[in-house]
Assembly symmetry: C4
Homo-oligomer: 325 residues x 4
């Protein structure tokens, strides 16, 4: 029954929207989910792709994972490689080493392990050294692998450093606040990075379910026009405003209308990071539930003791409810 009312409502909404849908192709065709979100709230798309091969996305993952995971992964990799070679040495026989005292398995393994780690890191103290032919070949190969692994690690580290990234924080909510005598749909972003973002542009798209003439419910995309959609320097905070005038596709929508249409509001930000001169992108998606009606953002800029304006990026989403008129 709820579903019924909902779809009735959608056909009402169809008549309400006067503005034109998006005139460019987003690239999601008609496979866009009617009930799920197209974009996750962190801006990644809610789709999956089958890789062609096993290693296809390895570099991507190694470069985008968190630093903590990255260091843990590297350490585990070195440890496992170490253990693998230690086992080989024990199998061949630790009596092939100079400077080793024979003992039980644990004792032998530890000596092999230390030799292996000294070989892999190329520290090579030499108080343990390979003597037999097979073990010498294996140690040569291990030191080569050590160098290779280290070169890979260096490349990955630089790959992580040089990845273009913006540290843009978005308010957790969209607000509907008084704006120029009427109302406006607003969100706020802040630049949390030391580096300036220049020529920063914002686009806002709304996806809604709409009943077509033939009765089928389809996902439609509408651009939401912005009062200011480009700034030269994104240094402080920026409150982006879509005026809810009669030109807006959601003019006169109620909170329930927005929920019924399963609205998703997608924010696409593009700018140039000044330090690296790379174009960076950030995205954010808001669902209808994340809209707060009749609220306004609290101040986010304070003056430092030197009188310099300072953005409190952690308070970017802070807002206060307004009395309902």
């Amino acid at each position: 029954m709820a579903q019924k009312e909902n779809t009735n409502n959608i056909s009402k909404l169809l008549r309400k929207i006067k503005s034109k849908p998006l005139d460019r192709e987003l690239g999601f065709g008609k496979n866009v989910t009617l009930n799920g979100r197209l974009m996750n709230s962190d801006g990644s798309f809610n789709v999956d792709r089958e890789p062609l091969g096993r290693w296809d996305n390895t570099y991507y993952h190694l470069v985008t994972m968190s630093w903590r995971h990255f260091f843990m992964l590297i350490f585990s990799f070195f440890l496992l490689l170490n253990i693998f070679f230690s086992c080989l040495y024990v199998l061949i026989g630790v009596e092939n080493f100079n400077g080793v005292t024979l003992g039980d398995f644990g004792h032998n393994f530890m000596q092999a392990f230390f030799f292996s780690s000294q070989t892999l890191t190329t520290v090579g103290y030499g108080h343990i050294s390979p003597n037999g032919l097979v073990i010498s070949i294996l140690a040569s190969f291990e030191s080569f692998l050590g160098l290779l692994a280290f070169a890979l690690m260096t490349g990955l580290l630089y790959g992580r450093f040089s990845r273009p990234s913006a540290k843009i924080v978005f308010s957790e909510n969209l607000l509907i606040a008084p704006y120029k005598g009427g109302k406006g749909l607003m969100f706020r972003m802040g630049n949390a990075h030391k580096s300036e973002l220049i020529e920063t542009e914002v686009q806002v798209l709304m996806a809604v379910n709409q009943r077509d003439e033939d009765g089928t419910v389809n996902r439609k995309f509408y651009p939401l026009s912005l009062e200011i959609n480009k700034i030269s320097f994104f240094s402080l905070s920026w409150t982006i405003v879509h005026a809810l005038s009669d030109q807006s596709p959601i003019f006169n929508f109620t909170a329930q209308d927005i929920l019924d249409a399963n609205a998703e509001i997608m924010v696409l930000v593009k700018g140039t990071d000044e330090t690296s001169q790379q174009v960076v992108h950030a995205r954010r998606s808001y669902s209808g539930e994340e809209i707060v009606w009749n609220a306004k953002f609290s101040p986010v800029i304070e003056r430092t003791s030197r009188g310099v304006p300072k953005v409190l990026t952690r308070r970017i989403g802070a807002h206060e409810l307004l009395e309902i008129e």
Copy 2:
């Protein structure tokens, strides 16, 4: 005789094509092959260039070869360098080493080899160490070379990592399928990379042999107009369609006409990889033989258990033949 009919057919084709040829210069002049392909099916051009010097294209090859070949090459290089220095040490005399037991050539060579590998990788255990003047100088030089080789390897690895690349898969065939009441020439592409491609654009060019007024057969290029030639996010799959309307240069062409004209259909894709923010290109060429008449693509997107759309990139070319009306 087949050739005769063929060229007769070409002069008929001349009259058939109403649309204008490409208005920009591709850069292949009149040297384009009339019988061969301009582009290989993987998108590389079917041309050759004399390098100016011996090392000219070394970096290009080292960065573009497959990973398997790259690792094999590096390993071979280390092994050969190792063997080269081992021979030098044996020539000078292994009695110049501390910690070496003298024996036959094989025994001496192996000891020199292990010393050399410990020097090249800078592991330097020290149970073998250089004693004489010449051998010490050689070992110093080898360890310097080892560092240099390793620095080169690190640079190459990063060069490979950071190379802009798109993992776009193309359907193996062009299909001629029903489209909007008429017919359309279609192919399908999928993004097999974890990273999004943004602002992706496609151009399709057709090269055909045409008889000019003076009777000579020349290679002409025509753009094939597309229904949609740009999408904002290439996240899933994309079926690119050229409508076979009367505006199309191959309107009313039969399968034989296309073969006679030695048609080559070239696809040029351009987009921005979101992770690296680099512009990436992909190309694909189809010959007339690769066109399947009266077929349509099979679905390529399934829903995961979470309801998320997933592209089955390995099935990008899957199609089914239609009953001939």
Copy 3:
């Protein structure tokens, strides 16, 4: 009282300015300081931003700090890491090392320190070597950390090398000099880098305090039009001129007017560095006090012995006062 006159003057200035304010949004909103500067004289913005996390801006600082500080930081880091591990070794007991002679704390610490440094740098002579289990594990871990630290250092060094940067020097002053029968506001820049800057563009903005209709004093931005604002090759020096015609927002302003309006003149330069093919930016801000009235720039280009023009970048700001007419 001075303040009073000042604000009276501002309301006069309002009437004086005929040209239109900037038609694009700079991104500083109304939080721009009325008394302080928006831009420091080195072109950085006079704002502060709260980072989100402790490590947020680490890479930025490591890549932008001076080389002297960078090398000192690296050296200190190695030294501290060394001392930290030395202390651990002394705590565990240096009797666990082979090749160490026991003595007082200082003696033991130095031996541990040398072992530690030989481990961290992977030089590993081996005259001191770990013997006990705990100390061997610690040494393994230290050599792994050494490799990691070294990989980070390599990445940072390359990050510093590859950072896009222009070495543009600006004259220390703005001059008001005779220009085409009238007067012009001028500054001079030189390219101090070996690499050419191509397609170099300059924009000049002026920020002034202005009294609005409602009596509040606001910061307004005006573009200053330039005679030439783009050159193909920035090889030598370039004198940028804003003609003080009646189209200029500061036409007929006196020196006192400019000080009263708290004028700040901001220069934004953008070009492409030819060697790295990266877009580079430079900025400079001048306050009203930095304007020199009735002066002209001294020559800055001399001929080398080969007759080649040479820019004396250190004399870029050299100027001489003109006799007041």
Copy 4:
């Protein structure tokens, strides 16, 4: 007297040129040499710039010097650093080393030298090891410097690898050849790199001395219009043609006119290297003496055994003289 005729000729030329001078600012002002060349024949500008500091252009030189010089420099640097530390060790006293036999200065120096090289490369065999306090500290510092030097070397190597570069070869001469019933000024370029150049654009500028109304001789720049100035793929060779029609600034110029006007013809090429996706630039300058009248380029493309067109880049400038009509 020759000078007189020459300048008379220039004033005649003034009347001859009907086309408009360049409408954008090149950036060389009026300091351009009237007699010398603005651009060297390799495309670098014939200007000099005083650096601001001692290290300003170090990275630029290290990245742009030839590979042979680069390797020699690195090797010399390691050798000198080695010798420097060896001297310090000898000064402190080689009796502070374990494993060293004392002898005359040469003997001691060589032992110190080998120890130093084993420390700098971190190979550290350990048959020589530091014993005294001062010598141990020095060795620690040397191994740290070794790592640092090696990290710098890795960074520089990658900086060299990743530098955007086009390997475009230009014909050594400009030809004046028959073209479309009239004559054309032509040169030829070839792509000698394995990688494609896409969207390649060419501009040709001519600098000539011209007598102004007031009798002073000034350097003026004219664009030379081209039949085709952009190609999609620069895969083979490309002959760039400026038609000597009555629209050309050098229409009806004789060989002597061109020499009298001290003409310099500058070629600016811009394209995108497909492998690295970087924009690359190439420049070439021709003087009047490098124009060959009445000649045409010899074929530069041959067919390989597989029928594939191949550019003979070493013959890019090959031409044959035509009979004078």
